[in-house]
């Protein structure tokens, strides 16, 4: 083989001739337009995480405003109408614009690195999904700025959100937000599931997949089966509002409870697709800081799959206060108790790993341990509200507010903070300050408990959720003040985190490839990873590839084109190399298509004609996106090998 041809194939090391070639092929061109066109999963993942963080802070400010209003009885800081918008926007933003996109953004960034490939399966779709998410989220906030913020709660029950009571355009924008975020979620889920099933490094059979990859796979499959129902349901409500249909109108044969079924069939699994990635983070972080492989890998995987399945059988426990058959409710109580089993199995596996390991008590592990406690409390109150008689007592009170915040903060936010500290050096190449991290952890842990623990008591004392004020005689003032002080402590800890993140990003200590001594593939490449992720795709021969490998097994893949963005497709079960795959090139069309989709759906709020004619521009954009370019086709045809 001539030197020329060899230079066109990868497989050499960092000092070989292929490194600059790969860099030229994979690096985005400089300039703003190229920035908009990028299809690099790392850029898209970073954007998802950054945008979700901004939405988190916006929703946090709303939470702070509500705490301020409730700090003392008969407070008149906020009026009832604005308060309704605030709690709806807070919940909607946290669930739809922060939690799910944040977890998916982490997957978009991490999964290709963890499975040892160079990009996601459908990078243009990933780009498009980000733009839909960004523009869709901004649409909701722009409407809010014009006093058109959704105000019927984050689950937008009809008839309150229906045509009769949901006056103005507030509920319309909520329905459209569901379309935007669920379209985003579904696109990313299909992308991530495909990467995990078909693009793993050779040798990374299913039983060698890192646990976060398993968590992402389970989550993606859950999203594919759960998100369509809420999207579908929101559009039915929207048609009731704008086209005069009667799906939820009892006077014409419709039914309001139907919405609750459609919403919670999605809404309950939703909790788990926020929570399972969190469990995945924990299962990555614990072995690293216990310095031993995960105890009970098989049990953890099966538990995550079981959680995924069972989470589809719980939705009615959100509806115990409705007139459903009692026998049915008993079934859902039993299912709600049952789902505690796989979560407990995972917790015991983590404890066993920590118990038998040599602990390295750094900030990521601190957040994991703090999350344990918070999640455990949330889980225990979950068992309480999972039973019908107790639920009827505390339904729609602050007890439920306390429960859901404990579950989501313990199950998702603590693991997420741990994940930030853990992967920050990989993403930026720099370490965060350990001392500040410890202070931040302490403040966060104290603040969260100070905010939400008193709410249990408030709920038991009868304080309903979603009220904008209360009378002095109720005696709820002291506990509310405690909760508000707690919220300020949380704010302080978040401020510390942001300042330290910015400071570390600019001037932090250099991290090197693997600062924690971790075992998964993303730590085998430089920090931050190059545009092509790996100089040569790795070959895996054990479950902890950085720690151990089978002597005599190949170490890396060679022979991929360096002149085009080429990757490797492997088989589903055993990850045997099967087909080479040419990744699509950067293009502006995903951005254009996303913008047209937003315009179409916003237009459809104001006119039925818009709902119809508005479909044409996105269709044109999708065709332009698909239509192959002559130069790229010629290049592809020149090197193609038929199957």
């Amino acid at each position: 083989m001539s030197t020329d041809l060899e230079a066109l194939r990868d497989g050499g090391g960092w000092d070989s001739v292929v490194a600059p070639l790969l860099d030229r092929t994979w690096r985005d061109k400089p300039g703003f337009i190229a920035w908009l066109c990028t299809v690099d999963h790392k850029a898209i993942g970073r954007r998802f995480v950054f945008t979700a963080a901004l939405f988190f802070f916006a929703a946090g400010v709303m939470g702070g405003l509500m705490r301020h209003q409730l700090a003392e009885p008969d407070n008149s800081l906020l009026g009832p109408d604005f308060y309704n918008q605030l709690f709806t926007m807070h919940g909607t933003t946290m669930m739809f614009l922060f939690a799910v996109p944040m977890m998916q953004g982490m997957s978009v960034y991490l999964i290709p690195l963890m499975v040892g490939t160079r990009n996601t399966a459908f990078p243009r779709m990933a780009a498009c999904s980000y733009w839909i998410y960004l523009f869709g989220g901004l649409t909701l906030f722009i409407a809010f700025a014009f006093n058109t913020g959704a105000d019927a709660g984050w689950f937008a029950y009809v008839p309150l959100a229906g045509p009769q009571y949901g006056i103005g355009r507030r509920a319309d924008f909520w329905n459209m937000l569901v379309n935007f975020t669920e379209a985003t979620g579904l696109m990313v889920a299909v992308d991530i599931a495909t990467v995990i099933l078909k693009m793993r490094a050779p040798g990374m059979s299913l039983q060698r997949m890192p646990l976060f990859v398993w968590a992402s796979l389970v989550t993606s499959i859950m999203i594919i089966f759960a998100m369509p129902t809420v999207m579908f349901g929101a559009n039915l409500v929207q048609m009731d509002r704008s086209a005069g249909t009667h799906f939820f109108n009892p006077a014409e044969g419709g039914d309001v409870l139907l919405w609750q079924h459609l919403f919670w069939f999605f809404g309950h699994p939703e909790v788990y697709f926020i929570f399972i990635p969190g469990l995945g983070f924990v299962s990555e972080i614990i072995p690293t800081f216990a310095r031993r492989p995960m105890f009970g890998y098989d049990a953890v995987v099966l538990s995550m799959i079981a959680t995924g399945f069972l989470s589809f059988g719980l939705w009615v426990h959100h509806m115990f206060a409705t007139n459903l058959p009692e026998l049915g409710k008993s079934f859902f109580t039993a299912m709600s108790f049952m789902i505690a089993i796989p979560t407990a199995v995972q917790m015991f596996c983590w404890i066993a790993t920590l118990w038998t390991g040599r602990l390295n008590l750094r900030s990521p592990l601190l957040f994991v341990l703090g999350g344990f406690i918070v999640l455990l409390i949330g889980g225990l109150t979950g068992v309480m509200v999972g039973s019908v008689p107790l639920d009827l007592q505390v339904h729609d009170t602050y007890f439920v507010v306390a429960h859901l915040h404990y579950v989501l903060i313990g199950g998702a936010l603590f693991p997420l903070m741990a994940a930030f500290y853990y992967w920050f050096p990989k993403v930026t190449g720099r370490l965060m300050n350990e001392r500040i991290a410890r202070w931040q952890f302490a403040l966060f842990f104290i603040g969260v408990n100070a905010t939400f623990f008193p709410m249990h008591e408030l709920g038991l004392n009868g304080m309903p959720r979603r009220i904008y004020t209360y009378a002095v005689e109720t005696g709820w003032g002291t506990l509310n003040m405690a909760a508000t002080i707690g919220a300020f402590i949380v704010d302080l800890s978040m401020l510390m985190f942001v300042i330290d993140a910015v400071r570390s990003f600019l001037r932090g200590q250099r991290a090197g490839a693997n600062p924690w001594g971790a075992s998964t593939l993303e730590w085998s490449t430089s920090s931050p990873p190059p545009p092509f992720n790996f100089i040569a795709l790795p070959v895996v021969s054990s479950r902890d590839p950085v720690w151990s490998r089978n002597e005599g097994a190949p170490t890396h893949v060679s022979g991929l084109q360096t002149s085009t963005r080429e990757g490797l497709v492997t088989t589903v079960l055993d990850a045997i190399p099967d087909v080479r795959y040419e990744y699509p090139a950067p293009t502006i069309w995903p951005l254009v298509a996303a913008a047209f989709i937003i315009l179409w759906l916003v237009w459809s709020i104001f006119s039925l004609q818009g709902a119809l004619w508005g479909m044409i521009p996105p269709a044109i954009a999708f065709i332009a996106w698909f239509w192959p370019r002559r130069d790229e086709t010629a290049q592809g045809a020149a090197v193609e090998k038929r199957p």
Partner: protein, 213 residues
């Protein structure tokens, strides 16, 4: 039974060269489950399948609590819906041959097949328009009317999407720049069409007979 499209994965194996696993002899694309886009399409089908399933759930949920089902105008007329069913089932035949031709990289056959599929699709869209005229209810009359229109509307959305896709592919196979992996696109479009065909069978049964029995 192994068909041509399922030719064993890794029919060309990666080879060991020193410490490396060399993949330079592997094909640059593959059909069926060897193609990433097949998995993407499968995901799309799962998502739309869930939406269809829930539309059927909504239909029977509302039927169970409603006093009048169907509305005063009676059940939807059988004529156009049944004609649609016959044509859509028949469209599987050219669709199957186009799929095969794509796997064989037979461009003239693919072109002919796509044109025939596109014609079938356009005829189906026309019949579908007539179908809407014999539902015997308006969408804003009652929950029954809303459900029936939504049921037919959802399938029509899929139908139109795939007809458009077929037209674009037809144009591409005649006019556009071609390479081998475009045949994979044709095969996958054919696969998606099968979903449009198969999903119509239960939807047809619910729409036309859910109001009769």
């Amino acid at each position: 039974m192994t068909t041509r499209r399922e030719a064993t994965p890794a029919s060309v194996p990666a080879v060991r060269i020193g410490n490396a696993l060399d993949v330079s002899e592997l094909p640059t694309y593959g059909f069926s489950h060897r193609s990433l886009m097949w998995w993407g399409t499968a995901g799309m089908i799962a998502i739309e399948g869930v939406a269809f399933a829930f539309m059927i759930v909504v239909y029977f949920y509302l039927r169970a609590i409603s006093d009048t089902w169907p509305a005063a105008g009676g059940a939807p007329g059988l004529l156009w819906g049944t004609i649609n069913l016959v044509i859509i089932l028949a469209s599987s035949i050219p669709n199957f041959y186009t799929d095969r031709a794509a796997i064989d990289h037979d461009l003239p056959k693919v072109r002919r097949g796509l044109v025939i599929c596109a014609i079938f699709g356009l005829v189906l869209c026309a019949v579908r328009t007539l179908e809407f005229t014999t539902l015997n209810v308006r969408w804003d009359d009652s929950a029954y009317g809303s459900t029936v229109w939504m049921l037919l509307g959802l399938h029509t959305f899929n139908l139109v999407t795939d007809v458009l896709d077929t037209l674009v592919l037809t144009a591409l196979m005649y006019k556009g720049p071609l390479e081998g992996k475009r045949f994979v696109d044709v095969a996958e479009n054919a696969g998606y069409w099968e979903f449009v065909v198969l999903s119509w069978i239960p939807l047809y049964a619910v729409l036309y007979f859910g109001a009769r029995f």
